[in-house]
């Protein structure tokens, strides 16, 4: 291990992390520990400091202030000298100048960059025009907006039903809300399930009290409309005819990596940023970790995504090590199987966090 250490004649190493999630914060912690003199900067489009998004469903059980979700206090960042630039957007990375360009036209210079921007909700193209009638669930603010829009014992229509959505769904069912699931090929994403397993767990969801609509049989969703007077606030229209009403309609079609700003940086990108198991990109000064990167799998001879809290956190630690001269390799820590808990309800390794 050869961490960078500043001497009076050598300026401190500038580590810049784009992304304020699990991977980014794990990396920041590792960088500070391995290079006490380095300048560590996290850049995020979020207003809040890092908080545990896995706790967002709990907002529906009881009132929780965002401060209660924060993983670290403000003092932690000051004590560890981790600068967090929030509520700003990265527009580009100039790998030649080693600069991150922000939307407000300010460059941030790095010596080593970690891209850990994660992913954002995927929305099928045919629903793009209905975006304003949909409620996302990626942030505290979005979760609170859903809570505000949802009446007591109200109805939530979930489109797709990835594991992020199903985590919320089981909470909503526990507080006597009605959940209508419109299935899609992304149902149970990121689990890759056989038709038999899919059928088995859709029945589990029904047993839990969820209304399950076969999205394929209905021809898919063609539009979301405002509900009419006397009916819930949203109407979901199916291609084959028919509709379903809900107070809130939420898309859960899995995630797409947030990589647009990396276009033109010279970094290899497929769907995500391509990295080796050491999380280094084809640019020696740029690393990637978390849901935004595809990691080379020697076993599969392909680049693939690895999801889940524990995997992502492990990536953050590996990135920090290798950004400071280490030579570690990411190894999967979390397998991806669906299971049932003691009550027969659906359970997933992706819901595990600590």
């Amino acid at each position: 291990m050869t961490a960078h250490h500043a001497s009076p004649s050598v300026p401190p190493h500038r580590y810049v992390i784009i992304g304020n999630g699990v991977a980014g914060n794990q990396a920041a912690e590792g960088l500070r520990s391995r290079d006490p003199e380095g300048l560590v900067t996290i850049i995020t489009n979020n207003r809040l400091l890092f908080y545990n998004r896995y706790l967002l469903p709990l907002l529906f059980r009881s009132h929780k202030d965002w401060r209660e979700l924060q993983s670290h206090s403000a003092d932690y960042y000051q004590k560890h000298r981790i600068r967090v630039i929030r509520d700003v957007r990265v527009t580009a990375v100039d790998a030649g100048r080693r600069q991150v360009m922000l939307a407000h036209k300010e460059p941030i210079t790095y010596d080593t960059l970690l891209v850990a921007t994660g992913g954002r909700s995927y929305l099928p193209e045919e629903l793009a025009d209905s975006r304003h009638l949909l409620n996302s669930f990626g942030t505290y603010e979005q979760a609170m907006a859903v809570k505000k829009a949802l009446p007591d014992r109200g109805t939530v229509v979930m489109l797709g039903g990835d594991m992020i959505g199903l985590d919320l769904a089981r909470t909503l069912l526990s507080i006597d809300c009605r959940v209508v699931l419109v299935t899609h090929e992304t149902t149970f994403w990121p689990h890759q399930v056989t038709p038999e397993v899919r059928m088995e767990f859709l029945n589990v969801l029904r047993d839990m009290g969820m209304d399950v609509i076969d999205g394929d049989a209905a021809g898919g969703v063609t539009a979301i409309e405002p509900g009419t007077a006397g009916l819930p606030a949203r109407r979901v229209v199916f291609r084959q005819g028919g509709d379903v009403y809900g107070d809130v309609v939420m898309p859960f079609y899995g995630l797409v990596p947030s990589v647009e700003f990396m276009m033109g940086s010279g970094t290899d990108i497929e769907r995500g940023i391509l990295v080796g198991t050491n999380l280094r990109t084809n640019d020696n000064h740029i690393f990637a970790a978390g849901d935004v990167c595809q990691i080379w799998s020697e076993q599969e001879h392909a680049y693939r995504f690895y999801y889940g809290y524990q995997n992502v956190r492990a990536m953050g630690a590996v990135a920090a090590s290798n950004m400071t001269g280490g030579n570690e390799h990411f190894a999967i820590t979390q397998n991806g199987s669906l299971s049932r808990d003691g009550r027969g309800h659906i359970d997933s390794s992706f819901w595990a966090y600590d």
Partner: protein
Amino acid sequence: MKATDIQIALCGSAGDGTIAAGDILRNAVARAGYRVISFDVYPPEIRGFGKCISRVRITTEQSYALKRQSDVFVSLDDSHAIPHVGEVRPDGAVIFESQPVATVAEGHHISGHIHPGHIPYGIPLRELSEKSTGGGRSRNLVVLGYIAGLLGLAPEHFLSIIEKKFTKQGSEVVSRNQAGFHAGFQAGTATFKLDNVFFTPLGTPHGSEQVVMLSGNAAVAQGCMDAHLDTFFGYPITPATSIMERLAVALPKRGARLLQTEDEISAMAASIGAGFAGARAATATSGPGLALMSEMIGLATMAEVPCVVFVSQRGGPSTGMPTKTEQSDLNAALYGSPGDSQHIVIAPTNVEGCYRCAGKAFEMAERYQTPVIVLLDLYLSNRYETVTLAVSGPPFNLNANKPRPRLEAGEVYKRYALTDDGISPRAIPGDAGCMHVITGLEHNELGRPSDQEEMHAAMSRKRHDKLLGALQHPDFTVSKRFGDPGRVKVGLLSWGSTFGECLEAMFMAQAEGIPCAAMKVVMLAPFPVQPVADFMADCDVVLVPECNYEGQFAHLVQGILAKPVVRLSRVPGSPMPVEAILGEVRRLARGAVTAIAS
């Protein structure tokens, strides 16, 4: 429900509309019924240079000083705002431009300086302004709208204030600015509010009172008008100019007169002339002007001519710091005129006090036939507060002259008659049978020059003793004690604008369990010896905070009472921070405990 107590600070460069935005904000919330205290900091340059900050504290109950930390901080110019971003309280909001027009050098955008404990709100102010108004100049109104939307303030009062403010520039300008406000308001309403500040609903105001918002100088002008000022003579000087500007509009409407003279000497001389002629007369200036007026003030003292001088202090000596506040003209106000030239000096401690002191100054000038100096400072002159005025009318006596006894046949009128209370019968030119002489020379009872030893001693005694009556002047608070009664560990003895900060510090100290009291001294000459002595006797230790280097008020107190005080003398060019006073109170309280224990 918690009472409202929100401080909003707007920071920008001259020309950004920072002060204008602060003005609209404070007027709008005052119109909505909230109590306001507000203070602007601006550069001496007119445009395109220095830093402007407008701080507005909005409360349900009247507060006494600005808070050190704001709840919401707005940057309209990051180069000026970055050094102030630490003035935001933990979990407070920082609103900034997310789409500046030009490239920003690395490290020069405020987003990189916001503390982890603050909540950032990056807003495309310029873009919203351009889309809604066709130009980028309404960023200040966009941000006002954003604040109103974010914090849940109704837009009506803002829109009417904007209309009032820009109506002279035409309906198009009004509409454009209102459109900018609307654009910001919609953005603010759509933003998820993470901060825990709320505007609580207000109760119905008391019917016998009207609440208006005034700056210190506006309150002075209002007090002058309500006391029926007849003539004003002045020469512009920061920070007193706006007194004259306001009176220039108001006085002619009532048939009264204002004249801008060629300098401060003339202004003072003309005021004395008007006072001699029986008019209520005044002038206003700052430290450098007071220096020029000092000889003439001596003339008014010697000739016993009523006149009022408003002095708004700024950083000195000499030209000093014209746009920074200070309390360093106390010595000049008390002793500036040569000879034993005692006159009345009063210093209000808040904006409402400015109104009352202005009106009462004319009563005192008439009653005690003397110049009265009303000592303000830039902080008080430019500070805005909601002021409660009685609906029943101004509380001023419009003729405070001591009644003049009727002259018996053959009796000679003695303008400077030696009386028990030292106040002589005052006649004005034209009063039948009362022809007399006034002069800067020492004189006898008739006003004729005299340098006889006995006469000079008698007249000197008369000129001093007559002023003692002012200590019992009707309906005037000469000094007042606040806080814990009886024995206390720490007493805060204060004057002028710093008293508000003292009061806030006292409340905070009391909340911490420190037995504490505060006394404001409004009348500085003649000095209220007994009340101050009584107060000091109750205190284990007396702290005197004031914004001057020498501790001028502490000198005055110690000189008169010969008792020790602890000085907290600072010249930051800005108001004394409450925390600085509180820190000293804590330190002294610990010391007092030790002293008692030992």
